[in-house]
Structure formats: structure tokens, C-alpha cells
């Protein structure tokens, strides 16, 4: 009885838009000029929102913030590819797509400013709250995909996570469930190369994260995560597959965290500045601008208007954040159970008395 190979797997990498703004025309998705400009506008808005938060933190007006700078492309691409009925199950660096899916900017700021109301999204927003325990959201994503199918509702669950998160058992259990139940779920890994100070090579001996799909019997693909078109194409394919009942997909978007892990971190301690400089050249935003300008879809004047618009919108979010009344200490107790037990009511009254005295 001979030995023979029984499984061979291939993992594709998809790139469409180069850092210099040139594209592979054959692979370019069929998007209207308006959609292409829309992708760019979203990325610019995300960055403005993010950079403002870092500034606010430095001024003591914001809690610890996790910068998304450099990771705008996967978030903008998924936001465009998703349908209104789809659900987003984010990790904690997905401010951009959370905004794009309808989370109000000042609400998301409130979360990071240390206020529970920042996790109370409007009813019609199909976005899960930010999960702090790394990797814990993936299984929710699988569950939502299963739930949609079981309840006969349309829609797909899109869940995000980082390269570090793929090391958690939760990630593998989620992929496995999604595979077994053919969940309508897409797993997007934003491989930004770092998990705080730990580089991607120390998370796994595997060559790619996309290949983790293979062991779970689901399709996996790697894309240039700073190429908004490549992500969009992969997202579209995955969403179509899920929608037509063909099950889940894992997308590895290779990108880079241009900022510190959080405002409490100093990446200078563990990262080579040359690496950072190399990735700055691969920034998803300027490359998209070059592309749009080369096509005659964008010019300096529009850029100036957009910058002003984005700044004004961000300032409005800050104003709305700072106009929120102080949180009520009784809220510590109000949402623990559907009905407040007597013992908890007593504790709430104790605190009330203390606060008013």
C-alpha cells in the first residue's frame, strides 16, 4: 500500500492596486466612479476620525485609544461590499467600518472615553459591541451566521479580528463551527503584522494566516490589505458564496498598523523605524488618490473640500461627545438583569445616598 498525497491545498494572494496607483485592469472590480470615490472618501473620513481621537487622548479628553491608521482599506472595502441586512461583529480596531455601518461617531468615541453608553448603538444598527477579550468575537460571528440561516432571515455575518487573535483557541473553534454548519459567516483577519510587540512570525509557524482555513475545510484567501480593490473583490466573492448557502470564507488582509498598539503603548520600543517607513510608502490612502487622479476622478480642489468636510464631521462628533450629560452612577446597576434583584437595589440606594450626601 503506497503512500500518496491525499490533500493538497493552494492559497491565492490577490493584488490589484499598486502603491504607485496603477492597477491590473483585468482584475479591477466593476465599480462605478462614484463607488470608487466613495471608497476613498470613507478612508479619509476614517483616518480623520482616528487621528482626532489620538489627539484627544493626548489632551486628556479621551481614554486609551487603539489607532486604526493604515488599516482603512479592509474596512472601507467590506463596508461597500456588505448589504444593509448584513451584520458586523468587529474586534476593537474597527472604528472605520463601525462608523460606515451606522454607529454614530460620538457614540463610538464615548466607548473609548470610558462610558458604557458608547456600547449602546441605535436599534437599527447591525453591529455588535466591541469585544475586549481578543478572539472572543469570532464564535459570535459563526453563531450569527448560523442564526440568520436558522431563522430564515437574509444576511451574512462579517467578523473581524487581528493576526494575534488567530492564535486563540476561540478562532479555531469558530472556523470549525462555521465550516461544520456552513455558516453564513466571513472571517476577515486584519493582519497588521503585530500583536502589541509580538510580530506575526511569532504567532504562527505557518506561512500565511489564510491557510488556517484549509484545516477547517473552508476557503481562504490572502489579499493585499492596503489595496481597497483587492479586499473588495475577495469580500464580494465571499459574501456571494455565503448568501447562496455555500458557507464561510476566511480572508487574510495583509496590512500594517502605522500607529502604536494603543495610546498606552510605545511601538518605538520594539519596532524597526525602517519597517514603519517601508509601510508608510504602502499607505492605502495616497495610493487610492493616485489612482483616482490618474483616472480623472479626483483633483486637488475635491481633496481640499473633502479634507474640510472630514474635519468638520469629526469636530461635530467631538462636540456631540462632550455635550453628553455625565453618566448616571445608577446605570452601574440598571442593566445587570431584566429585573433588578432586591439585593442590588439596596446597593444602588447605598450609592445614591453616598452620591447625594
Amino acid at each position: 500500500m503506497p503512500r500518496k498525497p491525499i490533500v493538497t491545498a493552494t492559497i491565492e494572494r490577490l493584488e490589484i492596486l499598486s502603491p504607485d496607483g496603477s492597477v491590473d485592469e483585468a482584475l479591477l472590480p466593476e465599480l462605478s466612479g462614484e463607488d470608487m470615490v466613495g471608497l476613498y472618501r470613507e478612508m479619509v473620513r476614517m483616518r480623520a476620525y482616528d487621528e482626532k481621537a489620538v489627539k484627544l487622548q493626548r489632551q486628556g479628553r479621551m481614554g486609551t485609544w487603539a489607532p486604526l491608521k493604515g488599516q482603512e482599506a479592509p474596512q472601507a472595502a467590506l463596508a461597500l461590499a456588505m448589504e444593509p441586512e448584513d451584520w458586523l461583529i468587529p474586534a476593537f480596531r474597527e472604528h472605520g467600518i463601525m462608523l460606515a455601518r451606522g454607529v454614530p461617531g460620538h457614540v463610538l468615541y464615548a466607548y473609548w472615553a470610558g462610558d458604557e453608553r458608547g456600547s449602546a448603538f441605535p436599534e437599527d444598527v447591525r453591529v455588535f459591541p466591541i469585544p475586549v477579550p481578543v478572539g472572543s468575537q469570532f464564535a459570535h460571528g459563526a453563531g450569527v451566521g448560523m442564526s440568520l440561516a436558522l431563522r430564515g432571515e437574509p444576511g451574512v455575518a462579517v467578523t473581524f479580528g487581528g493576526d494575534g487573535a488567530t492564535s486563540e483557541g476561540d478562532f479555531h473553534e469558530a472556523l470549525n463551527f462555521a465550516g461544520v454548519f456552513r455558516a453564513r459567516t466571513i472571517f476577515v483577519i486584519q493582519n497588521n503584522q503585530w500583536a502589541i510587540s509580538v510580530p506575526r512570525e511569532k504567532q504562527t509557524a505557518a506561512e500565511t494566516l489564510a491557510q488556517k482555513a484549509v484545516a477547517h475545510g473552508i476557503p481562504g484567501i490572502q489579499v493585499d490589505g492596503n489595496d481597497v480593490f483587492a479586499v473588495h473583490v475577495a469580500a464580494r466573492e465571499a459574501l456571494d458564496r455565503a448568501r447562496s448557502g455555500e458557507g464561510p470564507t476566511l480572508i487574510e488582509a495583509v496590512t500594517y498598523r502605522l500607529g502604536d498598539h494603543t495610546t498606552a503603548d510605545d511601538a518605538g520600543r520594539y519596532r524597526d523605524p525602517e519597517e514603519l517607513a517601508r509601510w508608510q510608502e504602502r499607505d492605502p490612502i495616497p495610493r487610492m488618490r493616485r489612482f483616482l487622479e490618474a483616472r480623472g476622478l479626483w483633483d486637488e480642489q475635491q481633496e481640499l473640500v473633502l479634507t474640510d468636510e472630514a474635519t468638520a464631521w469629526v469636530e461635530a462628533q467631538v462636540e456631540a461627545l462632550e455635550a453628553m450629560p455625565a453618566p448616571d452612577p445608577a446605570d452601574i446597576f440598571r442593566y445587570m438583569y431584566a429585573e433588578m434583584p432586591a439585593s442590588l437595589r439596596e446597593q444602588m440606594e447605598e450609592l445614591r445616598e453616598e452620591v447625594s450626601s
Partner: protein, 345 residues
Amino acid sequence: MSSTIHEARRTAGPAGEAAVTEKVTIATAVRDALALEMERDPRVIVMGEDVGVNGGVFRATEGLLERFGPERVLDTPLAEDGIIGTAVGMAMTGLRPVAEIQFMGFVYPAVNQLLAHMARIRNRTRGRFHAPMVVRMPYGGGIHAPESHSESYEAMFLNAPGIKVVVPSTPRDTRGLLASAIRDEDPVVFLEPKRIYRAFREEVPVEPFTIPLGVASIPHPGEQVTLVAWGAMVRVCLEAARALEREGISAEVVDLRTLNPLDRDTLLESVRKTGRCVVVHEAPRTAGFGAELVALINEHALLDLEAPVQRVTGFDTVFPYARLEHHYLPNRDRVLRAVKKTFEF
């Protein structure tokens, strides 16, 4: 350690002999204890997320990688169950791993390994194996951290027989207790009060020393009421004791230092002497370790009590986000009100 050795100065040691000491924080004391034990015992290794190149997110393992190399200081993948599970395997086969969980709120994935294996291995193999390992984790609130970064779930480990639980509140205790924990033959969960990692410095001997597990300390002796605490709450109790002193009330503060094994004698002796007791912890009240202490006092010293033992604790709620956390955490005034109750009973 040698980086700050120039700060070291000679002071009289406890036994009267001169000892070289240096003034360090709790965070530095953690690092120094690790370095000294690694130097002493080649079986000791340090592992966890960001503990190597980055020196730990609280810098409590700073410099260890440079000093002891990547075979003894392991930057692990981001997987708590993996960290504890591999540490159990190492501990069962002759190493002495000191594993770091970055924040107590992230220990849950590892609970399987901690409770199902680490805690039980000696008993279920009738002593054939044991797991001499330490699991360090920063715990507790008060630093305006994001969600899931402020938990105090020590009771979970205390209700899992087989695990020792140690909580220092000073740099000196940190050094001595961590050394003992590493040398201990049983698994130890070592909880580090992150709120006071850098709150103050204390003179600590430069040479290795240990403080035995299971021995409480009395940082503030007194006669009329006993305040019992551990970790960051010890300082809250000390503040209360000083305030009481100004009112002419003599309070004794008992810092348990080790929750399992528990120094019952020191606790009960103090309560028998004062006749009043207030237990203070950050964790939720219901089924918190305070409940165990009250039960113990009732079992052994009921007739010495002038008033029921009071508890000052966190609420039975999720730990609030930063903007409301000061309402949750026990503070001096809450302790004072509880003391008052024991006098007005």
C-alpha cells in the same frame, strides 16, 4: 536590577545587621524577584504575551530577555490557554515556569487549564506529578483602563482547591512573596495590584530573601477595630486607619498577603483583641472572599465580637467603565462609615 543599584544604600536590616537596600516600586520588585530567582535556579523560566522584547506591558519583565535569553524568556503566541497549558506540561516535567497573564480579565480562556489541570494534578496522580508554577497577573481597578482591564476575581481561584493565591501590597512583600511562590512546590496565582504598581517606592534588600506564604502582616497596629484587606485595598485601609487615629480611634490593619494558605491566627487574634472588624475588597460582594472571612470569624470568634463584621466591597455588578469606576471602588470614606457601624451597633 543592577541598573538601579547605584541608588542602593546601606540601612540597618531587620536583624540589626547592615543590609544593602534600594528604593523600588512594586513593578520593579516583580522584575527583581524574577531576575534573582532565574539566577538562582536554572529551571525558572518566564513566559507570556509581550514579556520579552517589550518587557511586559507594565514593564514588570523588563531586561529579562536581554539577561537570560529567549530560551528562558518566552514571548508566546496570543493564547492564554496555550500559555497555561504549556506551563503545566513544563512544570510537570521539571521546569518552574512563571507565566504572565497580561490582565486578570483575560485569564478566562485559561481557566480550563488552571482549574481542571494545574489545581488538580498533584491530587489526581496521588503525588506522582505536581505543578510547581506561578501564574502572575495584574488585577484590580483604579487606573481608568479600558473595559475588561480592571477585574478582581480572586474568589474564583480560592474556590478551586489546589491553587495558592498571593496578593502583595508593597514592594518588599512583592519581592519576598514572589520568591517564595516560585520556590513553592505547588501552583501559585500571584495577583499584582496594578493600581499601585508605581504608586510608591520602598527600601528593599538587594540580596535574595523570601517572605513565607501564609503569613499576614500588620502594617498598622491598633486596639479597637480590625481592618482586613489585601492588594491595593490595604492602602485604602491605612488611609482610613490614619483618619480614625485623628478621631481617637485605634484601628489595626491586617494585610493578609496570602489568601490561600490563609493566616487565620493573625486574623482571629486581631479580631479577638479589637472585637470589631471590617473586611475590604474590590471584588463583588456576593461570594467574595470577604464572605469566607466573615464566616471564619463567626465560627471562631463570635463571642469576642462587639458588632457584626462589616464588608466594604465592590458592587454585585460588572466592573464599570472608567468614567464610573470611582463609584464602584471601595474608598476611605466607605471604610469609615463601616467602622462607624461597628461602633454604633
